[in-house]
């Protein structure tokens, strides 16, 4: 056994247990769907961003187990998937709340007081941008421009666009999702 091989062996023993644990699917019923996504994109490595987007569509985030599965199936190193998943803002590595709030911080929204709306949401939900409330009800994040600058400031709650926000009334706008 040469040196490289012996290091590899050692690594395998050390990490096998941990990998087995992390590779356990979060939801075994969805594993088939992930495989379908791979086939839909003809298992091409160049389609990896689209593949991860579709996987995220299933779970609302990218579970480690599924990243490991994709990595194994397409023979793409896990590190590369991690690099893509952390480079692009669209991807998340943590579970999301039931409702997803995306507050627009585009320029038009900014000059019309989006920062104060953000502060009001932080006070209201007691969660910082990028976080999820303890009861998993809301995930809150800020985004750069939803392209509805005519109605600034705006946010989306799940698929719905809420427009012409102000810091005095944003709390009320969130009430119906509670």
């Amino acid at each position: 056994m040469n040196r490289v091989d012996s290091i590899r062996k050692l690594k395998e023993t050390l990490f096998a247990e941990r990998a087995a644990e992390a590779g356990r699917p979060v939801d075994p019923t969805l594993r088939g769907k992930v495989a379908e996504i791979l086939d839909k994109h003809r298992r091409r490595a160049s389609q990896i961003i689209a593949i991860l987007q579709d996987v995220q569509g299933l779970f609302k985030y990218l579970p480690e187990s599924e990243l490991r599965f994709v990595s194994r199936e397409l023979d793409i190193p896990l590190t590369r998937l991690y690099s893509i998943a952390t480079f692009y803002k669209a991807f998340r590595l943590k579970p999301r709340g039931r409702h997803e709030i995306a507050l627009c911080m585009g320029t038009a929204c900014h000059v019309r007081g989006a920062v104060r709306v953000m502060d009001a949401i932080i006070r209201e939900l007691k969660v910082q941008p990028g976080g999820t409330t303890g009861d998993m009800r809301f995930s809150f994040e800020t985004v750069r421009c939803l392209g509805c600058c005519g109605q600034a400031p705006v946010m989306t709650v799940d698929e719905e666009l809420v427009s012409r926000l102000d810091h005095l009334s944003v709390g009320k706008a969130l009430e119906k999702y509670r």
Binding site: I49, A50, Q53, Y88, M105, A108, C149, G150, H167
Partner: protein
């Protein structure tokens, strides 16, 4: 989206010849003559927030019950006047109804569609004259505009290719494939002086010519729909409202440079644009306008859609191509241009949505028509002027927000005051920001600047993709500069040092200044770092990143100095420099401020003067905004 023509039942024939396109168009027009009464409801993302989908549904249901009216209802893309959504336009008279709610629908049907009368209360009210205006073309917001690209949005149902064909769609493609050599298409675009609408203003014809000459196994065509500039949404509106115009432009471009594979890179945040483009591509394929042997011409081309991952830097050409290849979107040095070696190392032409949409217009309208609009002279030099129209998103502190399309060379004053109606609430205009994070802020003294590629650059800003964010006296220019550098620092890919570290250092200084900890010499330091970042960054993101800082220092130095020297924010934005206090003599003791205060730091008895506990105040400004008696000072 759905139309009055039952999209689900849409069965399209494959068109195998040029004459079959004509026959197709005749059939469509026979079924639905051009002058037929039509209700066009804007269901663009913006108007959707104003309940426009329900307005559309209300029309559809009501008209289905009253077939004798024989009017068509269409869900269309953005009409532009977002401020007054939901917008309803009645063709053929072009009566504009603003802020329509579903409950208004029966009255519109009863009066306008049945009797030809007008519903006065829904017409646009001109604040200048106090009169209601009936026709869209007479509304001051629309009157000075020239909507060659956006015009289609108010007539065409984007979910139905037949609608696009009925309005001369794919006629430019037909003309090109039937009677033009690829070289003469490139020549036409070059002579028209079309320049890239995505920001750079590079002559499209020159780009195409280089790609045509470049050696490679194949060539690629890309449509950049990764509209990342915050404050700009024209590309979204064109994709959502008139997707076929973009696709037609791409096919013509592909024919001109000899490409058979195209990509559209759509921004992740634009689900409706993705939907509209996907539907449009499917229908174009079904009609034989995409795929093998287009219209029997022997030319083949197809388009793949790719979704972005939410990274601003992917608007940069090399980063976008890296992203299409499935890699992190990091730009590379452009010693070899992407037109020679781009996507998968092959010659690649990348143009922006609006640029592609201009192509069919130029082919149909002709070079003379296109060059008659705009500034300068492009007959000898494609860089010699800015021709055609440009779409701007007029937003921020302006009365009429929305998308405007004007001839190049219109002044900022005409756009902001004549079309936009000026700054609302009697506030004073301070600046207009153009060109997104790569652009700059222009002051009142430059309002008479004609807007074109070269004049905006000379003033230290740029055209960018066309964001135009108006700022009033309540906007702090230092905060705006900080905002953009914060944005760019977040979006910097981190590959090259000047951009990664330079922006971090600039943000640190700007944070310090807005927190009242600015030091003497900070401005000089900022300018120095900015110069280094601009000079040595790898791509345009870093290269233009200092623009917002440099222009604000250039035009609003006094505001920086107020922050640094006097520890004061004149606009009342920077929290650390704010103090809220009650003006005793104005306070009526109505208790409203105490009710809205989120930290309950306002005390006072009913009808007695209130007071703010400054130690506990979080400076959210809720009391200031809620007070009706101007009894709170900041």
């Amino acid at each position: 989206m759905a139309s009055g023509w039952e999209v689900t039942a849409l069965k399209l024939k494959k068109l195998r010849s040029f004459s079959s396109l004509d026959r197709f168009k005749r059939e469509i027009l026979a079924e639905h003559p051009a002058g037929a009464p039509t209700v066009a409801v804007c269901t663009d993302t913006g108007c959707r927030a104003c309940n426009s989908v329900n307005v559309f549904e209300a029309f559809r249901e009501a008209l289905a019950k009253a077939p004798e009216i024989r009017a068509i209802v269409k869900a269309t893309g953005c009409h532009g006047f977002c401020e007054k959504g939901a917008l309803v336009l009645i063709h053929p008279q072009e009566i504009l109804y603003t802020q329509v709610q579903p409950s208004d629908v029966p009255e519109i049907i009863e009066k306008t569609l049945k009797k030809g009368e007008v519903v006065e209360r829904l017409l646009y009210l001109d604040p200048a004259t106090g009169k209601r205006i009936k026709l869209e073309s007479e509304v001051p917001y629309y009157k000075p505009q020239l909507r060659t690209i956006l015009g289609g949005n108010r007539m065409i149902d984007p979910s139905d290719i037949r609608d696009y064909v009925a309005f001369d769609g794919y006629q430019a493609l037909r003309r090109v494939l039937e009677g033009m050599k690829p070289g003469s298409v490139v020549d036409t675009i070059t002579r028209a002086g079309l320049r890239g609408r995505g920001g750079g203003g590079f002559p499209t014809g020159v780009k195409w010519k280089t790609a045509r000459r470049a050696k490679g196994r194949k060539r690629f065509i890309i449509c950049n729909a990764d509209e990342g500039d915050p404050g700009a949404f024209m590309d979204r509106s064109v994709c959502e409202g008139n997707p076929h115009s973009v696709i037609e432009g791409m096919i013509i471009g592909a024919y001109a440079v000899g490409s058979h594979d195209g990509y559209i890179y759509v921004r992740n945040e634009y689900p409706l644009a993705l939907e509209a483009l996907t539907t449009a591509l499917e229908q174009a394929r079904e009609c034989g306008l995409l795929g093998e042997n287009i219209l029997g011409s022997g030319f083949s081309f197809d388009v793949t859609i790719s979704r972005g991952g939410g990274a601003f830097v992917c608007g940069e050409s090399t980063a976008l191509m890296a992203s299409l290849e499935g890699k992190p979107g990091e730009p590379r040095a452009k010693y070899v241009h992407t037109v020679e070696r781009g996507l998968f190392e092959e010659p690649t032409v990348l143009n922006n949505v609006e640029t592609w949409a201009n192509v069919p217009k130029i082919i149909l309208g002709g070079v003379d028509w296109f060059t008659s609009i705009g500034t300068g002279d492009v007959s000898a030099d494609p860089w010699g002027g800015s021709k055609g129209t440009k779409i701007f998103s007029l937003v921020g502190k302006v009365r009429n927000t929305g998308l405007v399309e004007v001839p190049m060379g219109m002044t900022l004053r005409e756009i902001i005051f004549d079309i936009g109606g000026g700054v609302p609430k009697g506030k004073r205009f301070k600046a207009v920001q153009t060109g997104g994070p790569s652009g700059g802020c222009l002051p009142e003294s430059l309002l008479d600047l004609p807007v074109d590629f070269d004049r905006l650059s000379a003033a230290g800003s740029m055209m960018g993709s066309g964001g135009m964010i108006v700022m009033d006296e309540d906007t702090c220019m230092v905060d705006v500069a900080r905002y953009f550098i914060d944005f760019l620092k977040e979006e910097s890919c981190g590959k090259c040092l000047p951009c990664r570290e330079g922006l971090r250092a600039m943000l640190e200084i700007l944070n310090r200044v807005t927190e009242g900890k600015g030091r003497r010499g900070d401005l000089k330091l900022l300018e120095e770092i900015a110069g280094g970042v601009a000079e040595t960054s790898l791509c345009a993101l870093g290269g233009s990143a200092p623009n917002p800082v440099l222009t604000t220092i250039r035009y609003f130095r006094d505001e920086y100095e107020a922050h640094i020297r006097d520890k004061r924010c004149p606009a009342g934005v920077c929290k650390a420099l704010l103090r809220f206090e009650v003006i005793g003599e104005n306070c009526t003791g109505c208790h409203v401020c105490a009710k809205v205060c989120p930290v309950a730091c306002i005390s006072g008895k009913a009808k007695g003067t209130h007071a703010i506990d400054e130690a506990r105040c979080i400076k959210c400004g809720a009391c200031f905004d809620a007070c009706k008696f101007e009894a709170i000072r900041r």
